[in-house]
Symmetry: C2
Subunit: 340 residues, 2 copies
């Protein structure tokens, strides 16, 4: 089987150190599935891990994947051979930039039957990040009518996570305000269901005043935690919650949270996996809920660009596009033309 | 009526700048009660506010009070004249270091009928801080059987807040580990219901290993947030929650929260009041629940020392004792010998 890897950390401006190599097709055991991959998507976290030293070489990056169950361990309960599935895997396994991959069934769900492989590949990592943020961090109700009076602010609504977080939040009854700057990103965010898109080139507190908006219940930062730290506290209600998925560059003053007793979480969708939480199966449940909502036409895929074929060149191009910070929605690489 | 105030910020080593003065008895309006005070307790927050410049002079400090409803505004719904009540008030009103005080009925509850004034005075501020932390921050269930598998770590279990937080947490079914250092504080914390008291003179992570303890669901810091920041993250479970009520002296690295997606709240029990939250009445509800539990014998008062009479001298002595950081439970000043 084929895989794309790299032997060390590298920056894109130093050249393309990804290369293709052969590896032996692994054998699934216990609750593992072996999946023949049909499409993958590339996420910002891939570009960050690429710049860290691997513990063994070559390292295969990639989380999101869609494919067909080709073999399974003897404790698998949730799937059958031939099932079409999607998932965003785990840092504990080699990544999805390969033609066959092992994955623990507890983080996998059935692929939405009304989506293409490319469309389905755009969803798992971002949908799981958004689901954990909404349900585990903000603890929103699973009854949409109970969320009608609640408002969520998403800093950067048009990226991968912002795009699906907007849809899930709307699906569960929240009011959603997002931010964007360019005309095309504003339009995209409205397409994802945002009730109002503010311009993050302007001061957000001033934008709130101009639109006569009250402080929000929940604030979700998907872009530059340092820049927005004080603003998020200002725009969040007393006893409200802030979540970020973006690492800080600077230390911050936690006393600023005190006056409004604000809660802050650094959300990380692999925390359950790397710390072997008892409820890892929550990923299967969240993703299954996404599948159901997609099949009912409530959520739409967020793919915006597709590259054809798993190659070192395509992977390098994908990383370049993600590091440009200009991405709208998700970038997918299709593997349907790959040989077995 | 009599009040104790000070005209400016002062440190105890510069002398006693508290003084007694006469003021006119105020008239309650809307939802206000005028309470004839029978006992007050002194809290660490009083010593901190004393060291800040007042916006007007003389400033009357104090939050906790127990007394009798002497007059009421025309919108009062929850109380009658002559009711015995207790509360920890609001920074929006003059404090409780006086013989009559105005208070909004939404933060007041009926005094437990089986407690003396001194005993009741020990509870409101600490019980409200503990209740907000347990229910609003940790979001524990109000059904004790649903909390049986959850564990709370309280850094400094023998202080005012730690003492009542231990009791409420036990009352609602949690397992409670506390920390203390001296023999008498350890014994006190066990009396409050702690399942295990660790020695915070030792490294707490090492104490956890020696007692073969797992990471906890919730960590509550009532002493030195900077010193315990990294340790609390280490000892808290993936997707667990940390609350502190102690201001930080240093900025902190929020990226340390990421690996376990840990949530952190800077709890402040006056945030609802100073930001005029819609659910200020939650204080009435929390305190009413404490009254019921005390009357059923489930919680005990935390008073450990009583000074007799509202005087500048007694208040200065109380502030000295609190600033020694040696307090066990609560210090109360009794006003029953005061004239009308």
């Amino acid at each position: 089987m084929k895989a794309i890897g790299a032997d060390g950390a590298f920056k894109l401006e130093d050249g393309n150190y990804f290369y293709e190599f052969d590896k032996e097709k692994p054998t699934p055991k216990n609750r593992e599935l072996l999946v023949k991959i049909k499409a993958i998507s590339v996420n910002p976290v891939d570009t960050k891990i690429r710049q860290t030293e691997p513990s063994e070489a070559p390292r295969v990056l990639g989380f999101d994947a869609v494919g067909i169950v080709e073999a399974m361990g003897d404790e698998v309960e949730l799937f059958n051979l031939g099932d079409e599935v999607y998932y965003s895997g785990s840092p504990e396994y080699p990544g999805s930039n390969e033609t066959f991959q092992l994955v623990d069934e507890r983080v996998v769900a059935r692929k939405p039957s009304n989506l293409s492989y490319n469309e389905a590949a755009s969803l798992p990592l971002t949908a799981l990040t958004a689901s954990e943020t909404l349900f585990d961090v903000f603890k929103i109700s699973d009854k949409p009518e109970e969320n009608k009076t609640k408002t969520l602010l998403i800093i950067n609504g048009s990226g991968g996570v912002g795009s699906i977080a907007t849809q899930i939040a709307k699906g569960y009854g929240l009011n959603v305000i997002t931010t964007a700057s360019r005309e095309e990103t504003k339009e995209w965010s409205y397409q994802m269901g945002a009730d109002l898109v503010l311009d993050h080139n302007n001061d957000l507190a001033e934008e709130f005043r101009q639109h006569e908006l009250n402080e929000v219940d929940y604030t979700f930062c998907t872009f530059n935690s340092d820049m927005y730290y004080e603003t998020m506290i200002e725009l969040t209600k007393v006893r409200g919650t802030i979540a970020t998925i973006v690492a800080f560059n600077d230390k911050q003053d936690l006393n600023l949270l005190k006056s409004k007793s604000i809660t802050l979480t650094h959300e990380y969708m692999y925390s359950r996996l790397i710390h072997q939480a008892e409820d890892i199966i929550q990923h299967h449940r969240y993703l299954t809920d996404v599948t159901e909502k997609v099949e009912r036409g409530l959520y739409q895929p967020t793919v915006n660009e597709v590259l054809d074929g798993l190659s070192a060149e395509n992977l390098y191009t994908a990383h370049q596009k993600l590091e440009s910070n200009q991405m709208i929605g998700k970038l997918v690489i299709n593997l349907e033309s790959e040989e077995d």
